[in-house]
C-alpha cells in the first residue's frame, strides 16, 4: 500500500502566535522528528519568559473587548473555525500522523473529537445562560450571571497533539476569555496549524495565542498574576506536584488531568470476539500512549480452559497487528513518540520479566513494515503472571503492553482495580447486566466502560478522572468546561 502524501514537506522553524502576529522566538531551537522515519520535520523554539509575558500582556489587553463581544457573535467565530477545520480535515489529520506517529484512522478520529468540542462550544449563547429566581424575598429577585475571568493557560501533552487543547480552548474563548496554548514541543505542528486556522477564522488579536516551549513557558504561566487558570494534561508527577500545587499557591483555577493505569475486567460470560477486538484498540491503539488505554487485563473466574482459550485468541490477533508508518492506510499501530519513551517501556518489560512474569508476545524486536528504522517502534507485547503491585502492574507505562492477571470473581477484580492509585478509565466486558451494574457502582474510576475499551467521553460530557488521575474539581469538555471558564456572579436586586 502506498503512503498517503505527507503534508509537511519542508523543515521550517515554527513561530509563536502572539497578539495576532507570527513572532520569531529568541529561545533555543530544537528539532521535531517524525518517529516513524526519524526525519526532522520542523524546528520548534523553546520560548523565553519574556515571550510568555508578552503573550499574557496581549491576551490581557484583548480581554475587555472580547468579553464585550456578545456570546452570539463569539459563537460565530467558532462556527467559522469549525468550517475551516472541516475543510482542512485531512491535512490536519495527516500532520498528526507525521509528527506523532499514530495511524491515519487514529488521527482522523482525533481530528473529529477536536471538532466536536468546537461544535459544542458553538452553543455558548445557551450554554452560558444563568438562572433567575423571582421573589426570593418580598419584592427582591436574585440571579446568576456566568462571567468570563480573563486569561487562561492551556498546556497540551504529546499524545494527542490536536484534540486535547480543544477540550479547553473553544469553551474558554466562547465564554469570553482569552487563551495561551503551549503545545508539547515534541508535537508542535498541529497547534501551529490550528492557530493558523483560528487566525483565518478572524479571532481578534490576542484572543487565541500559541507559545511554544517547555518548563520556562509553563513556569511563566503558573507564576503570572494575570493568568487566572490553567488546564493541563500530562503525567501525574507534573500535574500533582507542579501544576496543581503551584496553581493553589497562586490562586488559579486548575484542571490537571494526569496519568493512568487502567484495568479491564473480563468476565467469563463476555462476547469473546467483540471483547478481543476491543482489546486490540484499547491496549495497542495509539501505541498504548493514551491515558484511557487499558494496561492490565483482569480475567475473572477459575475456568482454566476458558482462560487459556481467551488468552490464545488475544495473542493470535495481537501477533498479526501490522506495525509501521501511520500514513500507510493498512497499518494498525504506529511507533511510540521517541526513542527515550521506547527505552523506558523496555525497562518496564525487562523489570517485569525479572519479577517472574511470562512473555506471551514479545514486541521488543519488531520490524516495522516498509523497511523503516526500528528506533521508535515496539510491537504489541503481552505478559502474564504480572503482579498488580509490581511496577509493571501498578505504574503508568504508556506503551503497547498488556499485562494479564487473574481474579477469582468480580469482587476481587474490583478490589484489585481499586487498590491502584489511579482512577481514569476502567472497563468491564460482560453480558451480565447485574455484573455491569455492580462494576459501575463500585469501581473507583472517573470514566467507566461497559463493553467499551476506550472510555473517551464525548464533547458534551466531562472528561472525568479520579484519585491520582485528576487534580481539580471541574473537568474539561461540555458544561463543566463552561463552568470552569466562568465565575458565577450573583445579583440580588430590590427596587424602592
Amino acid at each position: 500500500m502506498a503512503l498517503l502524501d505527507e503534508p509537511i514537506k519542508e523543515v521550517r522553524t515554527l513561530k509563536n502566535y502572539i497578539n495576532g502576529e507570527w513572532v520569531e522566538s529568541k529561545g533555543e531551537i530544537v528539532d521535531v522528528v517524525n518517529p516513524a522515519n526519524c526525519k526532522t520535520i520542523a524546528r520548534v523554539p523553546i520560548s523565553t519568559k519574556a515571550e510568555i509575558d508578552e503573550a499574557v500582556a496581549a491576551a490581557r489587553e484583548a480581554f475587555p473587548d472580547w468579553r464585550r463581544t456578545t456570546p452570539l457573535a463569539r459563537s460565530r467565530f467558532l462556527f467559522r473555525l469549525k468550517e475551516l477545520l472541516e475543510e482542512n480535515f485531512e491535512e490536519v489529520s495527516r500532520i498528526q500522523t507525521q509528527e506523532h506517529g499514530k495511524t491515519i484512522d487514529e488521527s482522523r478520529g482525533e481530528t473529529r473529537r477536536g471538532i466536536e468540542n468546537v461544535e459544542v462550544a458553538c452553543g455558548i449563547p445557551t450554554l452560558m445562560q444563568g438562572y433567575y429566581s423571582e421573589d426570593i424575598a418580598h419584592g427582591i429577585d436574585e440571579w446568576v450571571i456566568p462571567t468570563p475571568l480573563g486569561v487562561f493557560g492551556i498546556i497540551g501533552p504529546f499524545n494527542f497533539p490536536w484534540m486535547i487543547p480543544l477540550w479547553s480552548a473553544p469553551y474558554a474563548v466562547a465564554t469570553g476569555n482569552c487563551v495561551i496554548i503551549k503545545p508539547s514541543s515534541e508535537v508542535p505542528n498541529s497547534q501551529t496549524r490550528l492557530a493558523e486556522l483560528a487566525e483565518e477564522a478572524g479571532f481578534p488579536p490576542g484572543v487565541w495565542n500559541v507559545v511554544h516551549g517547555g518548563r520556562t513557558v509553563v513556569g511563566g504561566m503558573l507564576d503570572h498574576p494575570d493568568i487566572v487558570g490553567i488546564t493541563f494534561v500530562g503525567s501525574t508527577p507534573t500535574g500533582r506536584d507542579v501544576i496543581y500545587k503551584r496553581c493553589g499557591e497562586t490562586g488559579k483555577r486548575v484542571i490537571a488531568q494526569c496519568g493512568a493505569k487502567n484495568f479491564m475486567t473480563i468476565m467469563p460470560d463476555c462476547d469473546v470476539d467483540r471483547t478481543v477486538t476491543a482489546m486490540m484498540t484499547s491496549y495497542f491503539g495509539n501505541a498504548g500512549q493514551r491515558c484511557l488505554a487499558a494496561a492490565n487485563a483482569l480475567i475473572v473466574g477459575d475456568d482454566d480452559a476458558f482462560y487459556k482459550r481467551f488468552v490464545q485468541r488475544v495473542v493470535d490477533l495481537a501477533s498479526k497487528i501490522r506495525v509501521g508508518y501511520g500514513l500507510d492506510e493498512s497499518i494498525q499501530m504506529g511507533p511510540v513518540r521517541d526513542k527515550d519513551k521506547k527505552a523506558r517501556i523496555l525497562r518496564y518489560i525487562e523489570g517485569c520479566l525479572k519479577d517472574g512474569a511470562r512473555l506471551l508476545l514479545d514486541g521488543r524486536q519488531v520490524r516495522p513494515e516498509g523497511g523503516l528504522p526500528d528506533t521508535c517502534f515496539l510491537g504489541p507485547t503481552i505478559l502474564e503472571n504480572v503482579r498488580p503491585d509490581s511496577a509493571m502492574g501498578s505504574e503508568e507505562v504508556f506503551g503497547p503492553v498488556m499485562s494479564i492477571m487473574r481474579a477469582r470473581d468480580l469482587d476481587e477484580a474490583i478490589r484489585i482495580s481499586n487498590a491502584n492509585a489511579f482512577g481514569n478509565g476502567n472497563s468491564i466486558f460482560t453480558t451480565s447486566g447485574k455484573a455491569a451494574r455492580e462494576y459501575q457502582y463500585s469501581i473507583e474510576s472517573g470514566n467507566v466502560g461497559i463493553n467499551i475499551g476506550i472510555v473517551a467521553p464525548m464533547a458534551f460530557f466531562p472528561f472525568s478522572g479520579m484519585k491520582e488521575s485528576f487534580y481539580g474539581v471541574l473537568h474539561t469538555q461540555g458544561k463543566e468546561a463552561v463552568r470552569f471558564f466562568t465565575e458565577s456572579k450573583v445579583v440580588i436586586q430590590r427596587w424602592f
Binding site: F89, T103, I104, D105, E106, R274, T277, E329, S330, V455
Partner: protein, 146 residues
C-alpha cells in the same frame, strides 16, 4: 494480519472509492461505445461520484478514537475484482452482461463490508447498505437495455 487483506477503516474506504472510480470509468467507456445505453451509463457514472461523497461523509463523520477502526474489516480485495475489459466490437448485450457482473461484485463488497463493520462504524455500514441498495436498482435498468 495477512498481507493484502483490508482491516482498517481507512483502507476499506479507499477501496470503496476505487471501486466507484473504476466502475465510473467503465461506464464512461460504455457510454462512448453504445449510444443506445449512453444515457443510463452516464447516469450511473455520475451517481458513482455521489456514492463516494456519501461513503466519505459517513466515514469522516463517525471516525473516532474510541472504536475499533483499525480492526473493523476483514476483506479480501481479490474477491471483488472488477472485470471491466471489453472485447473490441463487443455488442450491447455483452456490455450489459459485463456491467451486471460489475454491479454484482460491488454490491457484494458493500454488503459484506457493512456486515463486518456493523456495530463498530456507526453510520458507515448504513451508508454501505444504501449504496448497495442503489446499485441493486441498477440491475433492472441494465437488463432493460437489451
Amino acid at each position: 494480519m495477512a498481507e493484502n487483506i483490508l482491516h482498517t477503516a481507512s483502507e476499506s474506504i479507499s477501496f470503496a472509492k476505487k471501486l466507484e472510480a473504476d466502475s465510473a470509468a467503465f461506464y464512461e467507456e460504455l457510454a462512448g461505445r453504445h449510444a443506445a445505453g449512453a444515457e443510463t451509463f452516464r447516469a450511473f457514472g455520475a451517481e458513482n461520484r455521489k456514492n463516494i461523497a456519501q461513503v466519505e461523509r459517513a466515514y469522516y463523520g463517525v471516525i473516532t478514537d474510541a472504536i475499533e477502526g483499525g480492526y473493523a474489516f476483514n476483506l479480501d480485495p481479490t474477491a471483488y475484482t472488477l472485470n471491466t475489459a471489453l472485447k473490441d466490437g463487443a455488442g450491447l448485450a455483452a456490455a450489459v452482461a459485463a456491467a451486471l457482473a460489475v454491479e454484482k461484485q460491488i454490491i457484494k463488497f458493500y454488503t459484506e463490508a457493512a456486515e463486518q463493520s456493523r456495530g463498530l462504524m456507526a453510520d458507515v455500514p448504513r451508508a454501505f447498505l444504501l449504496v448497495a441498495k442503489k446499485r441493486a436498482g441498477r440491475l433492472e435498468k441494465l437488463e432493460a437495455l437489451t
